[in-house]
């Protein structure tokens, strides 16, 4: 079955086919269509939908539903994402799964409602207090808005940490063809730790408290080991990279524009390719380092260089080398044009 729908609606279809039990959320442009579709489809399919009083409430309701062993999802944009950082830290500390969709808009502060990718560090580096990480997936099409929402549930349950689908206003608002999943994903068994109001789970406790410092350190070490163990799930995509002299490195919507730019560059005699991380955490660092060897690199992002700086970190840490990574970007809700990328790439030669 196919449907021509908005990215925001595709998220809800992904969640439903992932077996999500409940949606909690508070309206915000450009993410509101997720709440609208969820309000229609969750109850119609016997799932729960609740409009929360604020994003702090949404994420804590997620905490409760996840603690109860159920699959919960919420969606928001920058200002709401900031409010959710408290709950994300608690969920990570208590090792609870759940999916948070961030349809990024321009900031800081209220900013505006147009696409930006400036919540990169917030998503990838934790965002709230403490040493924790979320799984972060970056879709670039309507199909992926659906598929990655499903994957986010799977990874979130596998690693018992929140998963963020990091998207933006353009992907949220645009329509493309979606091939619907064929069946609902198998339900993970969460009863070993959940507090489900049953005799079997009566002994269980969901908490992020370790009063004793050595125990808290041990908990942190276990969390870090768990985050390290996520690496095999790192995913990326390359386009026209085999013989490329310039590689455009970008994720999400920027990678769509970069694709067109790479084709244009090739038609003008510059061998360009695109490296696109699909998971921003775990980051496909090994693949990035290999792909960039002997090539010029240009980061394409809708933020100030947060992503480029992270690439430098991965190249240094994983590839043990310093490599120049140039930057072409926009901020404030302006999407870069193909021509701008082409011009920036040509300068590198």
């Amino acid at each position: 079955m196919t449907k021509f729908i908005k990215g925001n609606e595709a998220v809800v279809i992904g969640a439903l086919y992932a077996g999500a039990d409940v949606y909690f959320g508070y309206p915000i442009t450009p993410a509101s269509e997720i709440a609208h579709a969820a309000a229609d489809w969750f109850p119609a399919l016997g799932r729960e939908f609740l409009q929360a009083e604020c994003e702090t409430a949404s994420i804590n309701m997620m905490f409760g539903a996840a603690a109860a062993g159920k699959l919960a999802i919420t969606a928001t944009s920058g200002p709401g994402m900031s409010l959710m950082q408290e709950g994300l830290s608690y969920m990570a500390g208590a090792e609870l799964p759940g999916v948070i969709v961030n349809i990024m808009r321009a900031g800081p502060g209220l900013g505006n409602v147009y696409p930006e990718q400036a919540d990169y560090n917030q998503a990838v580096k934790g965002g709230g207090h403490g040493n924790y990480q979320c799984v972060v997936l970056a879709p670039a099409s309507i199909q992926e808005m659906c598929d990655f929402t499903q994957r986010a549930f799977a990874l979130s349950c596998k690693y018992r940490t929140p998963a963020i689908v990091l998207s933006d206003g353009l992907l949220g608002q645009m329509m493309e063809n979606l091939i619907l999943p064929q069946s609902i994903m198998p339900r993970p068994d969460l009863q070993a730790w959940a507090v489900a109001g049953t005799a079997e789970t009566r002994k269980n406790l969901v908490s992020s408290i370790f009063l004793n410092a050595p125990e808290q350190e041990l908990h942190n070490q276990r969390l870090q080991a768990k985050y390290d163990s996520m690496r095999p799930d790192a995913a990326h995509e390359t386009y026209l990279c085999e013989d490329a002299e310039v590689v455009l490195v970008c994720y999400g919507i920027s990678s769509r524009i970069a694709r067109t730019a790479a084709e244009t560059l090739r038609s003008e005699g510059v061998k360009a390719g695109v490296f696109r991380p699909i998971t921003l955490n775990p980051f496909p660092a090994e693949a990035l380092c290999k792909t960039l060897v002997g090539r010029k690199a240009l980061a394409v992002e809708l933020s100030c260089g947060q992503f480029r700086d992270d690439l430098l970190m991965h190249l240094a840490k994983e590839g043990k080398r310093y490599q120049e990574v140039a930057l072409v970007n926009h901020m404030g809700g302006i999407v870069m044009s193909v021509e701008e990328i082409v011009a920036a790439a040509k300068k590198l030669r």
Binding site: P30, M174, S207
Partner: protein, 468 residues
């Protein structure tokens, strides 16, 4: 405090570290008594398997050392939101929240207020000790006027700090709660009454009747810097003046148990039934290249649906297709625009900044976009637009009297159909006429009269184009 095994509590408090038989509460603290009353009630009603306690941050944070039931430890102030999350997905459990006056009355007040207003299905136990116990005795929303605390060293002043918050009285303004009562644990008579109230709140959960709120006045000798007896006296003589013990509401007899939703349909059947166009996925076709279109005009002229129709026709022909609207405040200014890309391969940028085809139904959008059309491209513009600016060199201009003609033919709201006719006649979308008409017919399938009229309009449009 050394306890014998209390009904409903663990025998040894292994979660509490070294002191496995003593609670962590100070001598004379009300929390210990309240913890005990709750666990006894759960045990006596045989509800420990079903019970889920959502604990606070505050002196009650370690309740999970003692309560032999499911335990969830919430962030400071968030127990009502967390308990909402639990009860929304587990209708058969007995959900309880336990919070102090800072936790519920200050940082988490709106979460509590809103949950109470929604009439969530859980029992809330609210411990009012007039102070922030856990953090060493700062001022709470319930601190009495004149009371000295670490953060009101000269005594709480109404002018500077405002007045004590009466949570029961505030919640009693809400329609949501089934039961609201304020009790105390300052002496044995009061403890018996408190126990009854706690039981009632739990019974309401067992019977799935809705939200129950019990405020419990509790002594805090440590932070009041007085002994246990004086602290209890303070509760009875001073606190009860400000916070009278009272049952504010009890609708437990008339409240109806929550109803369960009927069995839902199968998910595939559900999505198949929504009648949106279901076509096979796109095919790669390098010979097709790409057409980038922009549709623009005022909201209400059917600009977005025109773009959508063209996109659906492209899907019908198994082209890769994207549609992207202007949104947010841009669209509220009355302007409407959308980008449509039709391609023989997966689409890169879905935002059309330099269109091959520009369809323009009003003056401002003509002025805004006409300069961006690529050489070799086409502008289709309504005849009412004064062309103050000429299109760039090499761009073909098509003037369509869509607004006038549709008004003449009695369908002023269907001017977009005439723009579609022009688009079709000039072949600039590279889509077949019959694909466009198939989608148009499908869009009007529930209004056959409209379908016919629009087809007639479309044909009139084609003729009008032929005549220019």
């Amino acid at each position: 405090m050394i306890t014998k095994q209390t009904l409903g509590m663990y025998k040894v408090f292994t979660r509490g570290g070294d002191a496995t038989r003593a609670t962590h509460y100070c001598a004379g603290c009300g929390h210990g008594i309240i913890n005990k009353l709750i666990s006894e009630a759960l045990a006596e009603m045989g509800l420990q398997d079903k019970a889920i306690m959502v604990g606070p941050v505050g002196c009650g944070v370690f309740g999970y050392y003692y309560w032999d039931c499911g335990n969830i430890s919430a962030a400071h102030g968030r127990a009502h939101a967390v308990a909402t999350g639990v009860n929304r997905v587990l209708h058969d459990s007995v959900v309880l929240s336990y919070q102090g006056d800072g936790d519920l009355g200050a940082i988490g007040f709106n979460n509590a207020f809103q949950a109470a207003s929604r009439g969530e299905h859980f029992a809330a136990f609210f411990v009012n000790n007039a102070t922030y116990g856990m953090t060493g005795g700062q001022m709470a929303p319930t601190t009495l006027l004149g009371m000295e605390t670490l953060t009101s060293p000269l005594g709480r002043s109404a002018q500077h700090d405002g007045y004590p918050l009466h949570v029961c009285e505030v919640f009693n303004q809400l329609a949501g709660p089934v039961y609201i009562e304020r009790v105390s644990v300052a002496d044995s008579t009061r403890i018996l009454k408190a126990k009854k109230a706690i039981r009632k709140a739990i019974e309401i959960q067992r019977d799935k009747k809705g939200y129950a709120f019990v405020e419990i006045i509790a002594p805090c000798p440590t932070n009041m810097a007085i002994d246990a007896i004086k602290s209890a006296e303070f509760c009875m003589t001073v606190m009860e003046k400000e916070f009278p013990l009272h049952c504010f509401r009890d609708k437990s007899a008339e409240a109806l148990p929550r109803e369960e939703a009927p069995t839902p349909p199968d998910i595939n059947t559900f999505f198949a039934a929504d009648q949106t166009l279901d076509v096979p996925a796109a095919l790669t076709d390098d010979s097709f290249g790409e057409v980038r279109l922009k549709f623009s005009g005022f909201g209400g002229q059917g600009i977005l649906s025109l773009g959508h129709l063209v996109a659906d026709a492209a899907r019908l022909e198994r082209r890769f297709t994207s549609w992207f609207p202007t949104y947010g405040p841009e669209q509220r200014g009355g302007a409407a625009a959308c980008s449509v890309v039709i391609s023989g391969k997966p689409i890169g940028s879905p935002s059309v900044d330099t269109p091959d085809v520009l369809v323009c139904m009003n003056q401002p959008s003509y002025e805004k976009f006409v300069g961006s059309v690529v050489p070799g491209g086409t502008v289709i513009v309504d005849a009412t637009v004064t062309r103050t600016i000429e299109p760039p060199a090499g761009v073909k201009l098509v003037v369509m009297p869509a607004i006038d003609l549709s008004t003449q033919l009695g369908m002023p709201k269907a001017a977009n159909t005439l723009m579609l006719a022009a688009l079709s006649k000039y072949g600039v979308s590279r889509l077949k006429r019959e694909s466009l008409l198939t989608i148009m017919a499908n869009n009007f399938r529930k209004k056959p009269a409209f379908a016919e009229k629009n087809l007639a309009l479309f044909e009139a449009g084609e003729k009008s184009v032929a005549n220019t």
